[in-house]
Symmetry: C2
Subunit: 355 residues, 2 copies
DNA sequence: CTGTTAGCGCTTTCAC
DNA sequence: GTGAAAGCGCTAACAG
């Protein structure tokens, strides 16, 4: 067999053969040999801020270009203990109904030189295996826009993997978290609806395991109580379009006392609700029924809907999440941080005076 | 300093300390020491189908569990020359308007033990750097649901990175490709529209660099010519909702001779079109205007739209793409393959007799 | 500034 | 069936 580290070519090989010698990619040794320098010199040339003379750098880069050499990130990660990989967890739901988030996160991460190892999760059991995978791949951090159990979070902590939660958190654990607090906007929205004369409200919850959905409905309920609204009916949804329509039906079983205003824990359900109201119950929106949502997804502003909703500043939130994870990939022992963003009311045409 | 490979503990360390010794994760050496076997034995226990005695396996797995040992995928990749990483390229557009694709691909890939290194691309220049990144991370393959230039594809080939195209291909290159051929459904759709008495058609194209959009419109045009339809007006769109509305305006500048049927290169534009028709031009759909699309995205079947469209069998297409890339990650030199799926007409309520 | 050297944690011959 | 030893491609002290 050939000697170690390919210090010399096998005799039958042309001296300046193609970069891919027998399908093998060029290594820093190949570049070093061609440039007539040491292998570590090559390494330095690819490390930003290393001390190399201009002459050397030039020769090395020329040789590297000729061989189409690019440092092997895997080998680098092995020794530096930094993979430059960040695991991103999104639930199937989020990805389908709010794809902007994943897209923005990926974009921002790539700006700071981090790659996305994508995981989609549908249940807590999935998350279990995701954590093992992330661990095996030595990720520098994890951004979770999906539910994790406390045990799973503790495991991550124990393994010193920095975690940033996106729009979810634990009440009994300090964590890094980026989220949107819609409190002020909820209050303004409720005030407006009450001023419009609404007295019977329907609230459509998110899935049971979802903090954000829960919190939103809680804020709405509290605001309503502050305005002395007593007739509040809550029904369960699961963030899907279909569940929005089903929930509306449930709220309207007694047409005489049906709500005149409905607030949904997310936009997707609000759209389902609007469609059900118009096409099945034959109600006009907003004249017969006011509907509002949360998120500010692109679709909610389509002409068929023009939903009044509370938007999250997704762009800034994604930037914040990435900045936090990048900082902790660099210095793992930073203390936890919460970054809370305000929402903003997106004025649509889905709310009006009570009928 | 401590001796190489941590064969012995520093004296100040407790014998059975925590798995994370000073934040370091357990290695196969740690497990070997605890189990009283050689390091290579540990390695074998984690390799499926290796020859290990039951007794040994048991001891090793017990030690591994105690130390929470999981093999380091990075180090493994370095030696096996397989990273188990697959680069997935999606364009911002695709991700936003057709998130199902990314979701399904990720799911299927994880079933065969491959991880997704996600890249989002908006221009060909982005693709350039993505390819370098993918190369640096030694990906076992690349699935591209985004545009690549010929030069970029050739580079990938030269580097022996298996590539599977999702819904795009080159006319002058043989490639691995999964795509949907809607020919038969286009023909059926056009036939139906002609039978409904439509004689003036409007066609809304996709972005200029997009093969699929181009092909769809070409198929429509050919079918129309076969049915001797002469009045065809094509306008440019870019697959976005907004561009659908704008295109409709352009098609209707002369109300007297406006098209009575419109076919859009994708669903998202068709939705924009429907909304523009209803809310701005005050046309009824389908009575005043028939509209059809391509894709079969979830949203197209919302009650506000019920678009008649030609659906792609996304689930099966994603399975096929993953099977192809997995096979080529295993045996890189397999010949190219094209897997073509038929579309299916999704019956909505957006087409009817010509006014 | 440059080269030498020692590993990162793993898989894989090769003897035994 | 098991252990010893080599080495994947790279970075990081350390000398010079």
């Amino acid at each position: 067999m050939a000697s170690g580290r390919q210090k010399d070519n096998p005799p039958d090989e042309a001296p300046n053969s193609l970069p891919l010698i027998r399908g093998r990619r060029a290594t820093s040794y190949d570049v070093a040999r061609l440039a007539g320098v040491s292998q570590s010199a090559v390494s330095r040339c690819f490390k930003p801020g290393a001390s190399v003379s201009g002459k050397m750098r030039e020769r090395v880069l020329k040789a590297a270009e000729e061989l189409e050499y690019q440092p092997n990130a895997i080998a680098r990660g092995l020794i530096t203990q930094r993979s430059n990989l960040v695991a991103v967890l999104v639930s199937g739901r989020l990805n389908l109904y709010y794809p902007e988030v994943l897209f923005r996160l990926t974009d921002e991460l790539s700006k700071v030189g981090l790659r996305v190892l994508l995981f989609t999760v549908d249940s807590e059991d999935d998350a279990e295996s995701v954590i093992e995978q992330a661990w095996q791949f030595q990720v520098d951090g994890l951004i979770s826009a999906s539910h994790l159990s406390r045990a799973q979070y503790d495991l991550l902590q124990k393994r010193s993997i920095p975690v940033v939660f996106f729009n979810r958190y634990f009440t009994d654990r300090s964590t890094n978290v980026v989220y949107c607090d819609p409190r002020a906007q909820v209050d303004a929205l409720v005030e407006r609806l009450v001023e419009f004369g609404h007295r019977r409200f329907g609230l459509i919850r998110g899935p049971k395991d979802n903090m954000v959905g829960f919190e939103r409905i809680r804020l709405v309920t509290e605001a309503l109580q502050r305005y002395r609204v007593a007739e509040i009916r809550e029904v369960q949804g699961d963030f899907t379009y279909d569940s929005g329509g089903a929930a509306l039906q449930e709220l309207c079983v007694h047409p005489a006392t049906r709500p005149t205003a409905i607030i949904c824990a997310n936009d997707m359900m609000a759209l389902g609700c609007m469609d059900e109201a118009r096409s099945v119950l034959e109600l006009n929106i907003p004249d017969d029924l006011s509907i509002a949502g949360f998120d500010g997804i692109g679709m909610s502003q389509f002409a068929s809907y023009e939903l009044t909703t509370i938007r999250q500043p997704i762009g800034r939130m994604c930037q914040a999440a990435v900045a936090m994870i990048a900082a902790r990939a660099e210095l793992p022992d930073q203390s936890n941080e919460r970054r809370v963003f305000e929402g903003a009311i997106l004025e649509g045409r889905s709310i009006a005076k009570a009928p």
